[in-house]
């Protein structure tokens, strides 16, 4: 039995959207070297849409695959939609992760949230107004 699904191995072997965006509108980094995982997400945002996204990851196979899949899931999507990306969605899109690797998908979710928060902190006017009932 293989350790990972074919999807995970595909995203690990051929990660999508690898690299750095020099003039990124939002950057998010999570994890630390002590635990063996660091993910950095770079976002380019125009008209409230994620026009481009790139990542760098230091970590295991599932950490690299989770970052890659997460970038695919938000690329070209409205910011509001990207904000709702969950680790579960990332793991499901990868046809599942072993239990002890689920934290990799959590890192991907957190890195994107952090990058979006970074974007909002630079563009407070873009921040959606909290809906009140």
């Amino acid at each position: 039995m293989a350790l990972y699904s074919e999807k995970v191995m595909d995203h690990f072997r051929n990660p999508r959207n690898v690299g750095v965006i020099e003039d990124a509108d939002g950057i998010g980094e999570v994890g630390n070297a002590k635990c063996g995982d660091i993910m950095t997400m770079y976002l380019k945002i125009e008209d409230d849409v994620i026009r481009d996204v790139k990542f760098e990851t230091f970590g295991c196979g599932s950490a690299i695959a989770s970052s890659s899949m997460a970038t695919e899931l938000i690329k070209g999507k409205p910011v509001a939609e990207a904000m709702k990306l969950t680790n579960k969605a990332v793991a499901e899109a990868l046809d599942g992760l072993p239990d002890y690797k689920m934290h990799c998908s959590v890192l991907a979710e957190e890195a994107i949230q952090l990058a979006l928060n970074d974007y909002y902190s630079k563009h407070p006017d873009k921040k959606p107004v909290e809906e009140t009932n």
């Binding site: 750095v20 063996g36 993910m39 230091f58 295991c60």
Partner: protein, 395 residues
Amino acid sequence: MMIYADNAATTKMSRAAIDAMLPVMEEDYGNPSSLYTFGQRAKEILEEARSQVASVINAEPREIIFTSGGSEADNQAIRSAAMLGKKKGKNHIISTAFEHHAVLHTLKRLEQEGFEVTLLDVHEDGLVRVEELEAAIREDTCLVTVMFANNEIGTVQPIRQIGQVCKNHGVIFHTDAVQAMGHLPIDVKEDNIDLLSASAHKFHGPKGIGFLYVRKGIRLTNLIEGGAQERGLRAGTENVASIVGMAAALKESVAHMKEDTDHMRKMRDLLIEGLARIPHSALNGDPVKRLPGNVNFCFEGIEGESLLLLLDDRGICASSGSACTSGSLDPSHVLLAIGRVHDVAHGSLRLSLGEDITEEQVEYLVKNVEEVVEYLRSFSPIWRRLVKGEAEFIL
């Protein structure tokens, strides 16, 4: 091409071992405890194997107890020595921080039962200092257990000197020789060893079988109660075929030890030389006092599991001490014990060579490890920071 470079994990069975086992399974399948001739034939085969194993390490046949492997032997050896100590009111045990878990976890259990354990420093070179060991011995020390050679970084300990110190102080000395057996000369008398654990599948024998050497006069405590097999010290019908396979594999390993290990050391040093050329890498453990086939490196800025997966794609079987390969949050306790920080320990690679390793294979290993490390660094945020000077290189 497949290069199996994980011989510290397990080895391919030798032809000699398989050939020795088949007739025991097909023809002489009797139970050594049965009184009829057919059973006694199996008993003879069993005792012949015991003599062979004993002679390799200069022991008496009655000093060899067959076990299910290295872990069981470690458990029984340590527990037995602890029980002997307890009877005399001695509750202190000395070991090292980088033992196999079969030893460390047994010691943890004994601590819960009231024993006190001192773990010796193994320093940056992965070697125990005999004078530090001697200084740690107390009036109430009942056991010293130090591995012959480390399973991850391959460092070979000064066993004979450690044994001598233990002898001088009247303390029982156990060594986990799982990685050394069949690869290094071992003489339990000259090396002053009281208890020794070994496992067949590390020297081209079958899995699930090993042995414990017990110096005459040391009383063992049973882990498995039942019938009177192994002189009542380890119950259960003997795994005769595997025991015979183990004896044959050991005999063969020892017969070719000199030429095999000369060749492996040459290949090992070539591999170390090649991998050391990768920038910001470092060999783990002493370069000379190490197992003939062991190479263990740390590469800064990358993580071990992704390295292993990409090497697997290129037909290379290897292992790593990264947390992700162990299923825990911490990287290898061995690498931490020699002072590697977490960041670097996650990027470790162990290549353990077999006797049949060729120079072409070593070149292939170097080339592919180099390429994969470079690739993983190309999108590692840690590496980017190091290269930009935003963080300081450790290696």
